[in-house]
Amino acid sequence: MIVRELELDLDVFEGPFDLLLALVLKEELDLRDVDLAGIVTAFLERLAEREELDLEACGEFLVLIAALLELKARALFPGESAELAELEPEEAAEELARRLAEYRRAKEAAAWLRERLLSEGGRFFRVGPAPLTPKAETPLAPQDPAGLAGALRLLAEEPADVSLSHMALRFPPVSQFLERFRALLTRRSRFDFETEVGGLTRLEQASAFLAVLELRRAGELAIDQAAPFAPIRITRMAQEKTAQQERTAAWTVRSA
């Protein structure tokens, strides 16, 4: 299964995955309009048609879709990317472009080699020694034992850390908002979500909202909203103290 030949039928795009990638890279297609979940579904459907699991294709797909998700996330949070990653937006763009160009170059080179292999298929030659040749011996010059010690020392050397910073889209920890809202709810029985998160970045707001959902799941608060886009109202739920403390402990462990 060849991932880049995956046929897609999305609202804004119809054609092979490879073409979609090219259009996105050239910004002829706005990634914000592309339904990435649709691509995932198409891939899974194609995968299901096959009898066996194609790990190679899965790996390739995962990397491509992850790159697209990263790009889309950046597009959805404009102006904040600088705070999100250690890299400046220009550096991040540079890095992404470099990686994608390198990937495409490797594909081109592989295609050339494949053609070359086909055209050179008629060339046969002997690999290895001729049938009637005495076996050649190449004696080894005297060696220094220090070379052995040196080789082993190098093997024992700590490897340098590989930096993956350019890959990371940092989300503020949810736990930070859990604590903050719990503290708030001990002082007040209700508050408006928008008012509390007003000054924050959109990513922080997203994290804060996840915290609210989690506290609701734990039964610590109730959420209500009069209408779509109306203010979200948070209300403290009356609870037994011990149960709440237990859950608090559980959360601290899970979000650490």
Binding site: G79, R98, A101, E108, L113, R123, R126
Partner: protein, 200 residues
């Protein structure tokens, strides 16, 4: 004073050509003109002249054997017309069925020079273990030290067999991939422009 040479009844260049034929038929890899000169105890220029004589003698069509310049040296191979018979002899040509993953990995190693498995994985976006093991087993790549000289990842480079299988005189015969390069520059510019717009 050249007298002693005149005692040799045959054309000396022809004699040298015969020696080269012998060397080429027993060699297990292409031999450079220098290696041929050293083994035949003659000078490189004369070896090159004699090689032309050998090439003529085995010109495609006249013989089933062909002399070719490949992988930085000279070697005999079977003529293309005899490919079908050779294929029957070998049943499964070991070097020919390369998977797309192996070809991509091979391309990266050939173009980027010595590079490590993590390098390859970074570019291909998938782990390179099995492709690398496959290429090593076929003798198309081999180890070439480690990253940073020290305890880094093992690097790989293509072998002379790679050049032979792909019929290349040397790696410099690989085509340039400029078109893609230009494309990349364009993409980079556009991404830069967007980045500036967004951070403004």
């Amino acid at each position: 004073m050249d007298r002693p040479l005149r005692l040799i009844p045959t054309d000396p260049l022809d004699k040298l050509a015969r020696t080269l034929e012998a060397l080429l038929v027993v060699a297990s890899a292409p031999l450079s003109a220098e290696e041929l000169a050293a083994a035949s105890e003659d000078d490189t220029e004369r070896v090159e002249d004699a090689l032309r004589l050998v090439a003529e003698r085995f010109a495609d069509g006249r013989s089933g054997i062909v002399l070719e310049h490949v992988a930085g040296g000279w070697a005999f191979r079977a003529g293309r017309e005899e490919a079908a018979a050779c294929a029957r002899l070998f049943e499964r040509p070991a070097q020919r069925n390369l998977s797309p993953a192996a070809l991509e990995t091979l391309a990266i190693v050939a173009y980027l020079g010595p590079c490590s498995r993590p390098d390859i994985a970074r570019i291909r976006g998938v782990a390179a273990e099995s492709a690398v093991a496959n290429l090593l087993e076929r003798g198309l790549i081999n180890e070439a030290g480690r990253d940073n000289g020290a305890g880094g990842a093992v690097r790989y480079r293509t072998t002379p067999l790679f050049e032979r299988v792909f019929g290349l005189e040397s790696l410099s015969e690989l085509p340039r991939l400029d078109d893609v390069g230009a494309d990349a520059a364009e993409i980079r510019d556009r991404l830069h422009a967007v980045a500036e717009k967004r951070s403004a």
